[in-house]
Subunit: 102 residues, 2 copies
């Protein structure tokens, strides 16, 4: 590391079985905003981070970190929103997405 | 809600089997700081949020939100660090901790 700045957690994706029900519950329970929603996942914005609600058969639950050297973890895939990332696992087997800071 | 300010996610707790191995991996892989560590869980600080690594038999994996009316969700328990919270489940069964903003 060439900097002591802390890395950020970009978003967290948790599994839900009924997406519409989960979105309705989070929107009712908390003050948050829907950034995106389709039939397989939804992306909610909170003050400091984003929460993804995912149907596990369609998208794996994971935690996404931004990293200054994301491409050192693997070939980055460019997503629809322009973000670039790759997936790895932590030693316990948790899915971890590594996002480029750009 | 009497305010349009978004709520925050205070921390996320994910399950690990080997706590020392997981802490070492996260500290090596990311720029983060250890806020707390004992034999059953560790608390890591990132730029925008905190990540708890938990032995599931000791502490449940969960997502913790701050909420302006946390006590409307149940009796708040005061923790060692002075924070006050209660646990509920979202409709999918994910454990959700509701923390008072104080």
């Amino acid at each position: 590391m060439t900097t002591t700045a802390l890395d950020s957690i970009h978003h967290v994706a948790i599994p839900v079985n009924d997406l519409a029900e989960a979105v309705a519950w989070y929107m009712h329970t908390f003050s948050c905003k829907i950034l995106y929603q389709d039939a397989t996942w939804a992306f909610l914005e909170f003050a400091n981070i984003r929460l993804a609600l995912v149907i596990p058969e369609q998208h794996p639950a994971h935690i996404a970190f931004t990293h200054p050297e994301a491409d050192s973890f693997g070939t980055l895939k460019t997503h629809r929103d322009g973000t670039r990332s790759t997936y790895i696992n932590d030693p316990a087997g948790n899915a971890v997405e590594i996002l480029a800071q750009d």
